[in-house]
């Protein structure tokens, strides 16, 4: 049972940390609302979509995806900080082993992402018409896309030795994944090369899944979206477990201590 208690411990710790990093938590919630209000409102005035739905309603699933992606992935990427500051080796030294550590981190990141995505999802009635019967499906879809995001974050962290700041991850990885997913605009009009990238992007299918769940016109069958999202999540977990190097930060572990010194003896001890 050590695996379950380790997962429990990691999840409780990560959630506790997240609630105490209020600026990061507030920033993670504010970001999608800023996009919804500033970009969504602006584009709403100038955009006419073929489907006929208003732009701010069209972009809403993409904004939920943004909250889930950033919340889940960035929480998982913080594994790199744990590696730098010695907490990861504590987890790796536990009897539970790497799979339990990764599962704990993934679950915690998913819950943080769901919290952030859930807050955005909660304002759905202000933006679009959502029948009460769709809520369970919407929450389930949010859980699926957030879990995928969390695993992507762990995959990014698997081989990173250090993260100076998260801006690089956000700009180089997360925004391209989001922009090439149909979250903010339909991908149909993209040039062929970008269209190919969009089709190879698992986030595209995650956004499509959210559109299904929120009752919007979607590009693919829900079954295809589900297969890609769940498949990507499982694949990311397996690749992360393979790439994860438990000896990182331990290798070359010569002592950093002081040179021998004539210090007072411990004296008589009982």
């Amino acid at each position: 049972m050590s695996g379950w208690s380790a997962v429990h411990g990691i999840v409780v710790r990560d959630l506790t940390r997240s609630t105490r990093q209020t600026s990061r938590l507030v920033g993670g919630i504010a970001r999608p609302f800023m996009w919804l209000l500033l970009v969504g409102t602006g584009f709403n005035a100038i955009t006419r979509l073929e489907s006929g739905i208003p732009y701010h309603a069209y972009v809403f699933p993409g904004i939920v995806m943004m909250a889930a992606l950033f919340g889940g992935a960035l929480t998982a990427v913080s594994t790199v900080y744990d590696r730098e500051f010695g907490m990861l080796r504590l987890m790796l030294a536990s009897p539970a082993g790497i799979p339990a550590v990764l599962a704990g981190r993934a679950l915690a990141a998913t819950l943080v992402g769901m919290l952030q995505g859930g807050i955005v999802l909660a304002v759905a009635p202000l933006v679009l018409v959502l029948a009460p019967s769709r809520w369970p499906g919407a929450v389930a879809a949010l859980a699926a896309v957030t879990a995928m995001s969390a695993l992507f974050g762990l995959l990014i962290a698997a081989r990173l030795r250090s993260v100076e700041n998260f801006a690089g991850i956000i700009n180089v990885v997360l925004f391209p994944l989001l922009f090439l997913s149909g979250a903010l605009y339909p991908t149909a009009g993209l040039p062929p090369a970008l269209l190919l990238l969009a089709r190879a992007n698992p986030v595209t299918y995650a956004v499509d899944l959210l559109r299904h769940a929120l009752g919007q016109p979607a590009e693919r069958a829900m079954s295809v979206d589900l297969i890609v999202v769940i498949g990507s999540t499982v694949l990311a977990f397996l690749v992360t477990a393979l790439l994860f190097d438990p000896e990182q930060r331990l290798a070359g572990g010569g002592g950093r201590g002081t040179t021998p010194a004539a210090v007072p003896h411990r004296g008589s001890r009982p």
């Binding site: 379950w4 009897p95 290798a251 021998p260």
Partner: protein, 308 residues
């Protein structure tokens, strides 16, 4: 009854660098063993190998009969580990840090809470248990770290420089806590640069250049250098050291940063007489042999052998 630790030819390379050559080590259950040696001697590598956190390049090791490569989980269940750098989450309270560690060790629910309460009581952390760990002083953070490493009552404690940077009060508190675990039968392997701390170990293993250069009880290791040590400083120190060697009283001569030390056996009067007449001696003193002398003498031998 199997040993707590059995290592045969245990070694680890980092690329072209041989961090640990071939460690042969047998530690009995309940024994306390101090690993000494200069920075880069292989102490931390040896501990990480025994703790299953590194894979050996060569050799093998067993902890309580379990192979450190093939039976990692079984080894880890018996192990309490203290790293050189403190492993404490500053955002969590001391109590939350311990609860996290208890769950990692496989304890949950009431068992975890009881272990945490016991650890807090043993370390005297009660007044600070609800404070964020980042607000604790370095000494208290280290004590919290040792509470974390011991709260599940491991059979083997591996401690990498447990008292580095601690003031005497916290150092005493740390050893007092470790002594309590030792009395309960816990096997302890620790490294330190504070050589006085190793005096109370059952056995000392001295590493240099990735190999064991001396291994015995502190008393035996000290006795091998002689009954006492003559410390000589000044421009005439080398000449006097050579003269003492010729006198037959000198068992061993070795250099330190400030001069020479000579291990003296037998009569001391001829030594004092010779030193009194020697020119260029700024400081001369006779004192009992310490582990620090053993450290300098043995690591210097190994260094010269490696240079040859």
């Amino acid at each position: 009854m199997s040993l707590a630790i059995e290592a045969e030819g245990l070694g680890r390379d980092y690329g072209d660098v041989r961090a640990l050559d071939a460690l042969d080590l047998a530690v009995a259950r309940g024994e306390m063993v101090g690993l000494l040696g200069p920075n880069g001697a292989g102490k931390t590598t040896a501990m990480l190998l025994l703790a299953t956190l590194l894979s050996p390049t060569r050799g093998r090791a067993r902890v309580f009969g379990h192979d450190v490569v093939g039976e990692r989980a079984a080894v880890r269940r018996r192990l309490g580990l203290l790293f050189q750098e403190t492993s404490v989450d500053g955002l969590l309270t001391a109590e939350e840090n311990l609860l996290f560690a208890a769950r990692l060790a496989g304890l949950d629910g009431r068992l975890a809470r009881a272990a945490v309460a016991d650890a807090i009581g043993r370390t005297g952390l009660a007044e600070r248990a609800r404070r964020p760990a980042r607000e604790l002083s370095g000494g208290w953070r280290r004590l919290l770290d040792i509470a974390r490493a011991t709260l599940h009552h491991p059979d083997l404690l591996i401690l990498d420089e447990p008292t580095v940077g601690l003031d005497p009060e916290h150092r005493e508190a740390m050893w007092s806590l470790l002594d309590a675990h030792r009395r309960e039968g816990t096997t302890v392997v620790f490294s330190t640069h504070y050589l006085g701390e190793a005096e109370t170990a059952d056995r000392v293993v001295l590493l240099a250049h990735g190999a064991v250069v001396a291994e015995d009880t502190p008393g035996t290791l000290r006795a091998e250098l002689g009954d006492g040590i003559a410390e000589i400083e000044g421009p005439g120190a080398e000449r006097l050291a050579r003269a003492l060697r010729g006198l037959g009283s000198a068992r061993v001569v070795f250099r330190t940063g400030r001069g020479y030390r000579v291990g003296i056996a037998g009569e001391r009067e001829p030594v004092i007489e010779l030193a009194g007449k020697a020119p260029g001696i700024e400081r001369f003193g006779l004192r009992p042999t310490s582990l620090e002398d053993v450290y300098f003498a043995r690591t210097q031998d190994a260094g010269e052998a490696a240079a040859r």
